[in-house]
């Protein structure tokens, strides 16, 4: 029934490990850059605001697959020598996902009402205290569910590194498939692994959403 | 006009309403109060056939709700209902909000419905807002449109579910004035409210509910001066300050 999967399990799971590593680096770079992007998007300095806004709006209108290709072509020109697919893919993911994380952070910030901030000042808190004890905690709670959702999306997105020949999970499944021609079980297996992991993660994220509502 | 006999309602295993008995005569105004979650909104929804109940009977103007021959939709036109959050249709102007049901249910012509709606808007004091969308109206104005919308079906009974609790103090007054006017005009009303000044002025009876039961009832003076149960006293102390 699952012969092709079982016979090649270590090869396939090796690919899954590449997928995990890709997702890890994409998030480890994408979220911090996303925070900067989010700050840029709420900045009052037009020299910051307009360039960041341009960056966000351009990237968000381009398919990820094309961003991956583009960096794959442009990196050798910038650094002067051919670049491995892995770092090239990681850079594309960071640049791409940061725009999405940035927009989540901006929305979270803007969801904090003026009244809540003024309530802070009115009790005698300083600007830094208000930011630290009121603005950031409220905004963080608001954006946590979307941040988790976007992290799940990032994890799913990493399989597009397939197109520059990176031997990640899906690429390895297709390689096994060309040898064994067991498409149903191979792609079924990949699908189930993603389904289970993403389902668990999104269930956790929904927990946070419910908590937030209860917290009023 | 309204008779409620031994009425009980459950949500699953949770009993929301416990053996409610109440009689409201034509032209009377009954004020219902009680802590949050005591079942006030559920009681109003049951009376308007918006919620089924499992035990007992509700009879409105001679029609029993448990009678399978009673048409729920016709039944509801007899009773107007006003909600805490106004619930105006955001995609329609004030006038369109009011004329929708008369045109679709009563099959009135647009002209007739609009003329009636304008008279109602005058009655609630905002004829100049007829063509505004709800988003451009203040809370008090929205609630007055909502009242006009209910009146447009010429109901025999009006029910209000905390109509002023989402409003600022100055708007509360304008809405209560409209309600007092209705009451003086002889409308039969059930009002869930914690505005005790209003209750004192217009209520023929005040009911206090707690955990799904009516635990106290009285005409105004007796109710405020010597509540029988400690729960009622606690509650009154809180809301009367």
């Amino acid at each position: 029934m699952f012969d092709a999967v079982i016979n090649n399990i270590s090869y396939l799971m090796g690919g899954y490990w590449v997928t995990i590593k890709l997702a890890f680096f994409a998030l480890a770079g994408g979220i911090p850059l996303g925070i900067l992007v989010g700050l840029g998007r709420i900045s009052h300095n037009k020299w910051v605001y307009y360039p960041v806004t341009l960056y966000v709006n351009v990237i968000r209108n381009i398919p990820l697959i094309l961003v991956i290709f583009w960096f794959y072509f442009v990196m050798p020109i910038i650094i002067g020598s051919p670049l491995d697919p892995f770092p090239s893919a990681v850079i594309s993911f960071i640049i791409f996902e940061a725009t999405y994380f940035g927009e989540i952070i901006r929305a979270g910030y803007q969801s904090v009402s003026k009244g809540q901030i003024e309530a802070g000042y009115s009790t005698g808190l300083t600007y830094i205290q208000t930011t630290r004890y009121i603005l950031i905690p409220i905004a963080l709670r608001r954006m946590l569910p979307s941040m988790i959702t976007q992290s799940i999306v990032t994890y799913q997105d990493t399989c597009l590194a397939f197109v520059i020949g990176l031997p990640e999970f899906v690429r390895r499944a297709t390689i096994v498939d060309t040898l064994e021609v067991r498409s149903i079980q191979l792609f079924g297996f990949v699908a189930i692994i993603f389904l289970i992991t993403c389902y668990i993660a999104s269930t956790i994220s929904r927990r946070f959403e419910i908590k937030e509502q209860e917290g009023g | 006009m309204i008779q409620i006999r031994n009425m009980s309602k459950w949500y699953g295993n949770f009993q929301v309403l416990k053996d409610i008995n109440e009689e409201i005569k034509e032209g009377q105004t009954v004020v219902v109060c009680g802590p949050s979650g005591s079942g006030k909104s559920t009681l109003l929804r049951c009376i308007n056939a918006l919620e089924p109940f499992q035990k007992g009977e509700i009879i409105v103007d001679g029609q029993s709700l448990t009678d399978p021959k009673t048409n729920k939709y016709e039944f509801r036109t007899e009773i107007g209902m006003v909600f805490q959050r106004f619930e105006l249709y955001p995609h329609m102007t004030a006038l369109q909000n009011i004329t929708l049901a008369p045109m679709k249910v009563r099959k009135k012509s647009r002209k007739e419905a609009e003329e009636h709606a304008m008279r109602l808007l005058e009655r609630v004091g905002i004829p100049e807002k007829a063509h505004e969308y709800p988003a451009n109206l203040s809370g008090g104005q929205q609630q007055r449109v909502a009242i006009a919308r209910s009146l447009a079906m010429e109901p025999k009974i009006m029910m209000f579910d905390e109509p002023t609790s989402a409003l600022d103090p100055e708007m509360i007054k304008e809405v209560l004035e409209v309600m007092t006017g209705l009451c003086k005009g002889g409308m039969t009303m059930i009002v869930v409210t914690h505005e005790m000044g209003f209750a004192r002025e217009v209520a023929d009876e005040i009911i206090f509910m707690d955990e799904g039961s009516i635990i106290e009832r009285g005409t105004d003076i007796s109710f405020f001066q010597n509540p029988k149960s400690p729960r009622t006293k606690d509650f009154l102390d809180k809301i009367l300050i």
Partner: protein, 238 residues
Amino acid sequence: MGLAYEFDWSVLWRNPYGMYLVQGIWVTIKMGLIGWAIALFLGVIIGTMRISPWRWLRFLGGAYVELFRNIPFLVQLFFWYYAGPMLFGASLEKSINSIIGLNYYVAIIALGMYTASRVAEHTRAGFSSISRDHYNAALSTGLNHPQMYRYVIIPYALRIIIPTLTTEFLTIFKNSSIAMTIGVLETTFMSYKIDSETFHGLESTTGACLIYLALGLAVVGLMGILESRLKIPGMIGR
């Protein structure tokens, strides 16, 4: 120092490459539009199932959404394209695989089904953001259920859903690029093809980026015109 890379932007219009891109754009647009029609049709049905009073329908709708949302679109595409024909049994498999343009049809259907799960979520969210008292308000004036949905609930829900669907409509064009992995000759595929024939992938993919940007702007512009034409009053959100 960079490699001595000589730019040649003429690959964007030179014969036959300019034509490649034009063909690619046309395929991207077709996939987006047809996929959108499928997504809208399926998605609204499934989203409505998820808020229906019947438990089984709610369960089925929920299962559909979870299934399609938690598997990367690339994997779905490969499954339908490579494994799909096998599901019909050996005898039918051959004839299915011999259909000309199978990859194109599979990509459109897969894109439609995937996007439907997202449309369903927006639909469900739109309806469930309407408070229960809003339904009660309509019923309490004596409207019957069909009238309540027709005049009050659906127009209201549409005003909440339409803006989110506009974003989704933009997304479907972007997602259609993934169809290149099964050889559908859409814009991204064509830019890649130009690279393999000229080794000027940087120029061709930059060109493709500009095409997607222009497409996005065109869609936003069209939606703007549509919205102002319809002049939907009481529109919620800007």
